[in-house]
């Protein structure tokens, strides 16, 4: 009868050891149904004008409060997950890692995709990639990297040359060119002492 079910959703988010726990479709559905039932109760009481006495008034207040609380919790649940999906774009790039992909819904996947699109549009209008350069630049223009998987050819030097990325090869690349690939896990920065 209370909003305990909804709170379970939030607890799931809090307890998880993974990036994003599996979207709990059944729980969300239960919360929606419970909220709608309470809404119907409320509506019935108002329709039958059963709110004269103090007890009914209190009941109405409580129903209203519970409905709002459920709405609030559902909003928080979805927004929290949404924020994590947005962070992934900044941390990983526009490709969602497979383990996380298993845990999100179709809706969430299109949400992520559309966010990437909106971000892309903005960055294109500026002609600047804002997802690069997260740390203050070291003084190295070039860094040494090891290729972790076969990736094929990439452009470097502002599009002037092409280089082939073969697994286990070591290359000396411009930091700008390498950064995104390091973040995606294709390259590994070799730090020499």
């Amino acid at each position: 009868m209370n909003t305990e079910i909804a709170v379970e959703l939030l607890k799931e988010l809090q307890r998880t050891t993974e990036q994003l726990p599996k979207y709990d479709q059944s729980l969300v559905q239960k919360v929606i149904e419970e909220t709608n039932r309470k809404q119907e109760q409320l509506h019935e009481m108002v329709k039958q004008k059963k709110y004269e006495d103090t007890i009914s008034k209190t009941k109405l207040h409580i129903l209203n409060y519970m409905i709002e609380r459920n709405e609030q919790i559902l909003t928080s649940y979805h927004l929290e997950r949404g924020k994590k999906l947005i962070e992934m774009r900044w941390d990983f790039g526009s490709v969602i890692p497979n383990q996380i992909r298993e845990n999100i819904t179709q809706n969430e996947e299109s949400f992520h995709h559309e966010y990437c699109q909106i971000l892309e549009d903005y960055m294109n209008s500026l002609d600047l990639d804002l997802t690069q350069d997260h740390q203050p630049p070291s003084n190295d223009l070039y860094i040494e990297v090891r290729v972790l998987k076969d990736y094929g050819q990439i452009f470097i030097d502002g599009g002037q040359s092409i280089v082939e990325l073969k697994k286990n090869s070591r290359l000396f690349l411009r930091r700008v060119d390498a950064e995104n690939l390091i973040r995606e896990g294709v390259l590994e920065h070799i730090i020499s002492n």
Partner: protein
Amino acid sequence: MNLIPDLEKAWINEKNSPEIFPFNETLVNETQNQLNKQESFIFQQQSQNQTPTFILNLYETEIERIKFLLRSYLRIRLRKIEKFSSNIINDSQIQSLLSEKEFQFVQKFHNLIINHLDESFLSKLKRKKNFFQNKIDQPDFEEFVACQVLEDIENVQFEDQDLEDDDLKEGKLFIIKYKNIRSFVLEDKMKLL
């Protein structure tokens, strides 16, 4: 380039303040112009083979550092804009702080969020409510910030703190609640550190 100290100041202000500052359009445009010119110059020098490579590399390193400032400035603004998107949509005063492109971004972003929540659960609830009314984040002006006085300011009274004397002398450093010095920073009489 006199732009760099200004860009640095704008960057630090954005970074350390809980709110969004007015977009510095001339600064950004001018910086991008200069960067483009410099990059063309380097490209030209490379094809002519006159200047030694290591000197060109120095130029390139400088460009990377400036680009970092620019990217970080825009990125910090964008993440703040995402955070306060509801406030922005509802308040035309805050809207004037954004650039044209940032405003287009936030409109699309806000719609994305609303549609996502709608499809996930809102449309299935019997009662439609404008839930954003309940849960809008406000920038936290109670935060403590480190700041420095840029020009002498007289007759200053802070709400909850007493100063040795009422005048703020140029060069003085403070760690103080943001709300107290907010107007000074916006007028460029103080800067954040």
